[in-house]
Symmetry: D2
């Protein structure tokens, strides 16, 4: 089998693929033939050594991978050979509330990720993927899609009649548009260009705001919501947008804080905070149970992830460089069979 | 103004229209020019004196009415002249949990209903109706639509990925099909004929089961759900269907018990109950706050109630007779301007 | 009857008592013989014209009052002569989510408060008070106690096994100690002196931290919670404490933001925010339905509010001055019969 | 090591203890030195072959056991040698909703239970037990205590101000009294004798009703609740009591249906059901995540399970006979060190 590993201190150049013997799964483990992985912005931060919690040296990158079970260890009942599965972002978060212990099992940083042709993983650390999705599509789900799903369904929970605000065209935001529509909500989306706006409209966004043309986009959000504001903001950008998100949110609304909140830099004016009647919730991807719930929604709505480009396994570094270029709309995928 | 009143002991023949002077609203009251009302099966039971809690003699019938505010009393801030409104089923249930006190304000039985050209009502006892709906459409909402909405949204709460089962083509069931789709669910519907089945499919039902052709319809429900069963049953019929509903429901599912549960007659085999891992919830229409939440969903999805037939105000008894004939699919409405 | 009114622009000196004829309640209104009122810090801010939303000139101050119904208008069913009641903080927030409309009915600023011997109020704008409480005790509940209750019971909701952090010995914090214990939680409280600490311990606090002795009190919070942190912070102070609260909260915990968040001044470091896995919820007192739920808890636990001092009605300005002195522990009450 | 096994078709006589070599845990498994087990009525039904799902022939009985980890397999992070643990009722239900797959891992029937000196179990299938509890006490928790906890905390969720009704002095009911008090509720308990009533009072019951003296005990429940009824019934007995429970429950209340609901025999009059505004929830013990939440509550309140009698490991059949005699109040425990 082939496996990529990296050392954050040495950056992308350290991302090297080596060949070793394919292992046999121990009890309560399965061997997965990885068919596809996808990249998140976090993966770029990790390899550039600017993520909050640095990656373990020599770790296999990429939290998001999907593949086929090709061998099972003793005592495994959750899967059999031939099952199509995707890994969970946290290998050890099955259900219930997030915990420090679960947090220590983040794949692609604390634990090995999926940028390999084969991976032995624990019997509780994957979900079955919907039949209608390709491996390449399924590989986009574990981090970005689940983050969007939990932002929308936890807390007050979005449902028919609510309005959701998404920011930009990153992976989480695109999933948020699709999932919010599946949940029956109205969607307002910001973006930097009319061309990207067309993509958002095609995905289901009811109102698109070009923030290049209207930098005070919170005013546009108020306008298209009849002055009320939105019930939920999928807040992915951070300090630069948080105050405008606070001005965009309806009374009793909800802001999901995703990722590092702008790298954790900057500050929030407390006037903006105290003038909004709002709940701010930190979103930490989600558990396996959440992933399974999302998959049920995907199946009913037959949603297809937006894939920007697929790179061959041998060109994995090129996938990182494409991500760094910020020229993409949708997920960047690596196909492991090519 | 003209007002219908009835005495349950004398039945439909006692439904008489009289003319009196139009009143002036007192403080905290509004005068509504009623434009339309709709009938529920409960109204038939009331006028035939076979409802659990008999109607107050001489009461104005019909809980469901919509119209225009034509005068407001002192201190009223929730509405102004010209506002389009619909009454709430319980005049005194604004928000929070149901209570005995709220229950004593049921319109069309304990309190006066809307079968009149004008009605003075309390300032807290109505909602504003969506612009896109006609008065005739809005008059169908207060009882049946809200019952369907609360069955779907309370308890575990249906959302994208869940499957809902509706029974037959009564008012609540048709709204349940429409609202379940708006909430992102998959819908399985039973009915007695293929022709009605086509109506259900057109409304959005994903699977229609003809229970005349398949009396053990719970087996068909299991079949179309891959053996899993449904996550929610909108149980409107009662004893005749409850055991099959229990056999249709998925592990962890929810059965909303609506109305008199088959007139409260019959019994439930405890084997069926204990074999289902289910929650049974009695549904009592809903509060004004619930009605407002539903209206937000209606607006986003622009749902139009299914209206079977509209009767003129002068022919109100004919509307009751049409309801009694059970030949309708959708709501029976009375237009007060005709 | 006698009524105090004030003009914020002229400060406390404008607080003048005048005598007018006692009014008769209109339809859907009740006349209350006010027996006691209590002060909140907000009342001081209002009369000193430094509250976010300035008070209407000539308004009757004090949102919090309790008394006896002495006359009822036509159509009133929620109360009868002789009933013991307390007003709701928002005259127009009965149940369901907070709204702009509800916010416009804040008593003692937008609408008249209770610093009068008699008040005519709407039939929906009060609760019945528990038998075991005196009028003076009941008058402390509408703002501070309900704020504490909703901080503890909404969002994730505190229950047996959780740990709650309270800050200081203001009205909300003292109620939070009592109510958190009633809900089965463990309580950690900060205070500035060992003497006040004894009061907190007597009220039920399990751990008291003297922040004068230990300015980095979040470290002490971590220590007494075995490193885990607390599940809920009743955050009453604002910018000065918010970052330490964020460092005190457990993974998945909840911070209730109360009042103006330090007058809305200052800023929050986003590093502190992004390092906490937390939900921040703005708390806006609560609805009548919430107040009724709290009263049920009070009755079961027979909690007695902590009253610092009772002033006679004629000395209302002295009560304000006592509040301004910040020398109190517990609520400052005005007895209207003296 | 010594292990008891049984064959349901042969009854209690088939419960035989044999000695075998102590196994070594495989990867992701731990070896537990079992220190104590406890019996539930279900265990008696299983060994008498009258449980709904018959036990696998030769299974090790008793779902409830506690002990010490004495060896860990490769890859185990949740426990280390020396940890004090108790098994979960369902070996495979970690968190999230109940499922058919989880149901197939019921210990003591589908999977091996704990009536052995040593047991190898999966790394996800246990909880750490509170320090303040002995192994004998901890062994009483997995089934009965967790069932009581989930009845009280799920659904609407009991909190300060609510009233809970418990029936009799079985294991679940006694835990329900203790836990309901810890949650801040008022407790009404029925029992057959004044002597048992004293035990209930000592545990915290606020009102005890002797149903021998007052067979229509639902009237007494109404009486002591001021006519309102209770907010939650912990319904353990079934058909014989369910109709009275329905008459005892407050509007909007909740009935937790536990166990076989009277063995699943009998029927429920739908008049009783339709007259109650109630939710009926089937309770299926609970997940590991639920167990961990309960343990946090136990720790704060230092609750001690009521133990009726402790039998030595060698006399396990005597423990079953004592259970069959129905003479006990509290849990029957087997100490494996004796």
């Amino acid at each position: 089998m082939k496996t990529y590993r990296f050392n954050a201190e040495e950056g992308l150049n350290s991302l090297i693929c080596t060949e070793t013997e394919t292992p046999v799964p121990a009890a309560h483990e399965v061997l997965v033939r990885v068919r596809a992985t996808s990249l998140n912005y976090r993966d770029l931060m990790l390899i550039e050594n600017r993520y909050g919690q640095p990656a373990r040296p020599g770790v296999i990158p990429l939290s998001d991978g999907a593949g086929e079970v090709v061998a099972v260890g003793a005592g495994v009942t959750r899967a059999k050979v031939g099952d199509r599965v995707a890994g969970t972002f946290f290998a050890g978060w099955i259900g219930g509330p997030f915990s420090r212990a679960a947090g220590a099992t983040q794949r692609g940083s604390a634990e090995d990720g999926f940028l390999a042709t084969h991976r032995v993983i624990g019997e509780e650390s994957f979900v079955h993927i919907p039949d209608y999705l390709s491996y390449e599509e399924a590989a986009t789900l574990p981090c970005a899609a689940l983050t969007a799903w939990n932002t929308l369904t936890q807390g007050r929970g979005i449902r028919a009649g609510d309005t959701v605000l998404t920011l930009g065209t990153g992976g989480v935001s695109l999933f948020a548009v699709q999932l919010a529509k599946a949940l029956g909500a109205r969607v307002v989306s910001t973006t930097s260009s009319d061309k990207k706006g067309e993509r958002l409209t095609a995905l289901g966004a009811d109102h698109v705001i070009n923030y290049s043309a209207e930098p005070d986009w919170h005013k546009a959000v108020r306008r298209v919501t009849g002055g009320e504001g939105v019930d939920c903001v999928v807040e992915v950008v951070g300090a630069a947008t948080l105050e405008k998100s606070l001005k965009s949110v309806a009374i009793g609304g909800d802001i999901g804080l995703i990722g590092g909140v702008g790298g954790g830099k900057g500050s929030l004016d407390l006037v903006a905070l105290s003038q909004a009647i709002v709940t701010l919730r930190r979103i930490i991807v989600g558990s396996r149970v959440d992933f399974e719930a999302m998959n049920r929604a995907l199946v009913v709505h037959k949603l297809h992830p937006v894939i920007d480009r697929v790179f061959p396994f041998a060109d994995a570094p090129a996938a990182y460089r494409h991500l760094a270029s910020a020229a993409h709309v949708g997920k960047i995928v690596i196909a492991h069979d090519n």
